[in-house]
Amino acid sequence: MASSAFIQLARLQARAMGYPDLRIVVIEHPLGGIEPDEVLAKVPDAAAAVSSLMGVD
C-alpha cells in the first residue's frame, strides 16, 4: 500500500528490490495529520482494492 503522493517512490523501490510488477494499492493522500474518522473512511476502498488484487470477493 502507498498513499497517492508517494506512489512513484513505491514503484521505484519495488523495481530496485526486484519486484517491478509489484501490485500496489493506492490510498488517497494524506494518511497522517488527519482525524481518525477520516482515516477510517479510507478503509472500505482500500480493503476492496486489496481483495480485488488477491482475487477474493
Binding site: 503522493a5 508517494f6 512513484q8 517512490l9 521505484l12 523501490q13 523495481r15 530496485a16 528490490m17
Partner: protein, 361 residues
C-alpha cells in the same frame, strides 16, 4: 519531471554549451545549475588519484539501489566542478552514506529536509583547500561546494533521489545542493571529532550526518561558558525538530570564540554534551495539544519514563560536537532526520591502506 536513470554508454551532442546543458537538464541529471560537461578525457583525469578500476562498485545507493562505480562517481564529480584530487573525499562520503546506520533509503526519500552534511578531518582538508573558517557553510570555496555537489549529484543520478520521484522532501533545503566543510581543528580547544572517535590525528576522515541546514545560535551577550551553554541548550529545545523525543544524533557547531570561552571556563567536550542533555528539555505542556493526546506521546512516555518533558538527546553521548567557522559570537546546531546515525569513515585506497596525502605517495 521525467528522469532518465539509465546511463547511455556515450552520448554524442552538438558542440555547444547550451545544447549540452539543455540535454542534461532534460534528462533530469542536474541540480538546476549548469554542469561541467563530463567528457571522456575529463572523466579519465578525474579518476587518477584512486586505485579502483573504473567499473568497481564502490557503493550501492538507495532508493534505487544504484551501483556507484568509480566511473559513475567520477562522471558526477566532473559535472559538479570537482578537481581530480577531491575524488577520494567524494568516494569516501558515498561509501559512508551507503552504510546501514545512515539509513540512506530513508534519508533520500523522506519528506524531511535532511541534507548530507560532510565533515572532513585530517591533513587532507588543508591539502585540498576545504574551508573550515569564516563562512564555512557558505559560498566561496571550490572544494567545499563541488565536493558537496558531487555527492548530491551521485545520490540523485545513481541513487535515484530525484525531487518529486525518489526524493519526497516537502521543502528541501539549500543544503541539499552542497553541504561540505572541514573542522577548524586549529581553533578547537578540545579533540577534533575524528580523534575523539578513535582515529589518529593524521588520519583523513569523512563524517556524514543526515541533517538540516545550520540553525544559528547567536550569543553576543554571555561572557561565561555557562551563559553560552544555556543559550545553546535553549536553542536546541525546538518544537518541530525530529530530535525531540531523543531520536538521532544532532550536531553542535561551536564557533571558535564560543568554544574558547566554554573551554576556558573548564568545560570538556563531555561536559558540554552532558549540559545539553540535561537542559535541552521540551516541556510536554508546551507541545501541540493534539500531540499530547496522541498514541505517539503515550508511547514516548512509556519508552522514556518521562511524563513532564522530552529531551533532545536520548543519551548525553548522542551529540556530535565540532568547531568550525570564523570570528564572531555565533554557534550553530543541525537537527537530524532522527532515524539515522552518524557514520565516520577513513579515506582509503581500494586495498584498504589509508590515504595520507593525495599528492604525495
Amino acid at each position: 519531471m521525467a528522469v532518465n536513470l539509465d546511463f547511455p554508454p556515450i552520448v554524442e551532442l552538438d558542440d555547444s554549451l547550451d545544447a549540452i546543458q539543455d540535454f542534461f537538464e532534460t534528462q533530469g541529471w542536474t541540480d538546476g545549475l549548469p554542469i561541467v560537461p563530463p567528457t571522456r578525457p575529463r572523466v579519465q583525469e578525474m579518476m587518477k588519484h584512486l586505485d579502483y578500476a573504473p567499473n568497481d562498485i564502490v557503493a550501492r545507493l538507495g532508493p534505487r539501489n544504484g551501483e556507484a562505480t568509480l566511473l559513475r562517481i567520477a562522471t558526477n564529480a566532473v559535472m559538479a566542478g570537482c578537481r581530480p584530487e577531491y575524488l577520494p573525499v567524494v568516494v569516501t562520503a558515498l561509501q559512508a552514506v551507503a552504510e546501514e546506520p545512515f539509513n540512506l533509503n530513508g534519508i533520500q526519500s523522506t519528506t524531511h529536509p535532511c541534507a548530507v552534511f560532510m565533515l572532513v578531518n585530517g591533513p587532507i582538508a588543508h591539502e585540498l583547500g576545504i574551508n573550515s573558517g569564516p563562512n564555512v557553510f557558505g559560498q566561496g570555496w571550490r572544494a567545499n561546494t563541488s565536493i558537496g555537489r558531487a555527492v548530491r549529484l551521485a545520490l540523485t543520478n545513481i541513487g535515484g533521489g530525484t525531487p518529486g520521484d525518489g526524493d519526497r522532501a516537502t521543502h528541501g533545503t539549500p543544503a541539499k545542493i552542497s553541504f561540505c566543510a572541514a573542522e577548524n581543528e586549529a581553533e578547537n580547544p578540545w579533540q577534533p571529532l575524528h580523534v575523539e572517535h578513535g582515529f589518529q590525528p593524521d588520519d583523513n576522515v569523512v563524517t556524514v550526518v543526515a541533517c538540516e541546514g545550520p540553525h544559528n545560535i547567536n550569543d553576543h551577550g554571555s561572557i561565561s561558558g555557562l551563559g553560552i551553554l544555556t543559550t545553546i541548550a535553549m536553542s536546541m529545545r525546538q518544537a518541530g525538530s525530529n530530535n525531540i523525543g531523543g531520536h538521532g544524533e544532532p550536531v553542535l557547531v561551536f564557533g571558535p570564540e564560543h568554544a574558547a570561552q566554554v573551554a576556558r571556563d573548564g568545560y570538556s567536550k563531555d561536559d558540554v554534551k552532558r549540559f545539553v542533555y540535561e537542559h535541552a528539555l521540551f516541556r510536554v505542556a508546551e507541545w501541540s495539544p493534539d500531540w499530547q493526546q496522541s498514541e505517539r506521546f503515550t508511547r514516548l512516555k512509556e519508552e522514556t519514563g518521562q511524563a513532564e518533558f522530552s529531551r533532545v538527546l536520548e543519551r548525553w553521548q548522542d551529540l556530535d560536537v565540532i568547531v568550525a567557522g570564523g570570528p564572531g559570537k555565533h554557534s550553530a546546531w543541525m537537527p537530524t532526520f532522527g532515524g539515522t546515525g552518524t557514520v565516520m569513515r577513513r579515506i582509503e585506497r581500494a586495498d584498504g591502506s589509508p590515504v595520507r596525502s593525495v599528492f604525495k605517495p
